[in-house]
Symmetry: C2
Subunit: 311 residues, 2 copies
């Protein structure tokens, strides 16, 4: 059983312990794990808590499937910044004879990629992407803008890693604000306190810090440095399993990036700004397991109270 004394384990040992305890079930592919009822119970409690951080009167709840029309992805500019992270959906396109040949190769674990063609869907890279085109479709924003609470599976991010806190398939919970620039900035400021308070209630050792996204290639380094300088991305980090603390929540101010691309305008006809705050559910669960031990029944009463209302 993991105890607080184990906080200095490296990620190899942490992963082995998680597997030995049955909390993670290896699939044979790095960063892809099944989970047991204990892990899932904590994840659902984190999801519920992250949901109820937003007052239902202030946020509209929307859910989107984990596939995104390719056209929206193309419009979003994602491929400029993160071509290396995206998963695209391919499917069979061929004759009955092609299907036989495909199966023959697959049954020998050979290469059957030539029978697969790109579909008009890609895998959702972050929970907030479908929100922008869906809200833009309604026309100009109401006065004061709009807040959306959303979340779900991020099916695939192409970054195979042996670090259990860097999954290829995971769940995010997001809150999204679309409105006038000043209102959006104030909202992100308010949420940085709210998110810190939530994660501190879970007795995690957290720090808020400016951060940058993992932009692709050499030109990406300039984007990252400009993002840092302007403090467009803030992360809440905590020690989990890497040498550096891992981000378990992030607060992103997109300025007019999504608004311009999807045509989001305020009630006054000005270009809107957008921001989002995202919680990485599996990472929060791992941070809890790492900090408080592998048996949630023995976690500090305040933590259990915050997650399951136990007094």
């Amino acid at each position: 059983m993991q105890t607080e004394a184990a906080i200095d384990v490296d990620h190899d040992t942490f992963l082995k312990d998680l597997i030995a305890e049955g909390l993670l079930i290896p699939s044979g592919t790095a960063g892809v794990y099944g989970t047991n009822s204990v892990f899932e119970k904590v994840r659902l409690a984190v999801d519920d808590a992250a949901t109820s951080l937003a007052d239902p009167r202030e946020a509209e709840r929307l859910r989107f499937p984990p596939v995104l029309p390719r056209r929206h992805l193309e419009t979003s500019g994602y491929l400029r910044s993160f071509p290396h992270l995206l998963g695209s959906v391919f499917a069979f396109d061929g004759s009955e004879r092609d299907a036989v040949e495909q199966e023959a190769r697959a049954s020998e674990h050979g290469d059957w990629s030539e029978f697969q063609r790109m579909t008009d869907l890609v895998l959702l890279p972050a929970a907030c992407y479908p929100v922008y085109p869906a809200i833009a479709e309604r026309g100009p924003l109401p006065p004061g803008g709009i807040t959306v609470e959303t979340g779900g599976a991020c099916v695939f991010r192409s970054e195979p890693s042996e670090d259990p806190a860097r999954l290829q398939s995971f769940h995010m919970h997001e809150h999204v604000r679309i409105g006038e620039p000043e209102a959006v900035k104030a909202w992100r400021e308010q949420w940085s306190h709210r998110a810190l308070a939530f994660l501190t209630d879970l007795r995690l050792e957290v720090f808020l810090q400016p951060a940058s996204d993992p932009f692709f290639g050499r030109s990406g380094r300039m984007l990252a440095s400009s993002q840092l300088q302007q403090e467009l991305k803030l992360e809440i980090v905590t020690p989990i399993s890497a040498d550096e603390p891992t981000a378990i929540a992030s607060l992103n101010y997109h300025q007019d990036h999504f608004a311009t691309r999807f045509g989001l305008v305020t009630s006054e006809g000005e270009m809107a700004h957008t921001a989002c705050v995202g919680f990485g559910e599996e990472r929060i669960v791992l941070a809890l397991l790492r900090t408080h031990g592998f048996d949630p029944a023995t976690w500090p009463i305040e933590v259990r109270g915050r997650l399951w209302g136990e007094a």
Copy 2:
């Protein structure tokens, strides 16, 4: 507002009404919809109810991500029966110059498929697929076999349709039995009653009937006819939005299909048999909306009681 009188609408009208009411949010791609808080509240209640149909003492709860190692899919034989339904995950593989060219084409909504390569993951075609290799990994089954309760997102099934009850991305809840042939057959028989009782409690007009899977091609017709004859697949169907009633649950007896492929043996060293029962969550929600109207607050008290414990 939809009322019971509307039960004879065709799927075009039903879809338009669902969208007008905000229950479904079009994405621009057929069979891919966002949902609002009303739809999601019902879906989560259906998920909870389907979960608790299994006694936690009799079933082990496991959750798996919506991606499956390609190798497991290849081993399962899925490509022989359903090559036309599978989605495979592709991702970028190239230089910085390739990334620039990919983005240039994508920004004009052109063809950028040549920069994408097959990864070692495919999209989970049904919630039970990861269960078989995960249980096989443990070695021979315990005496009496094992029961698993699982579920989650089925990210993609390649069947674009204008029928809202035929989604390309949806959620399934599954219960899986692995054990001695007689025990597995008896379990499926018991679950056919349990599933019918559950859906009848929801005041849906349901029928249990032998069915066949949508096998691919001409040879598929023989597979389908043999499956029907042996009653390997049972479906619980209800009128939703197509001319024919739609399956909202299915009970599948796989004989030794998965056991042979993944090496599942009983405690006595015999080849195991497997069966699963799956609930289509969005289809059940749509059947409820169609039968009882678009406002869950006005649904029959018995239905609300079954879903939310309202007395």
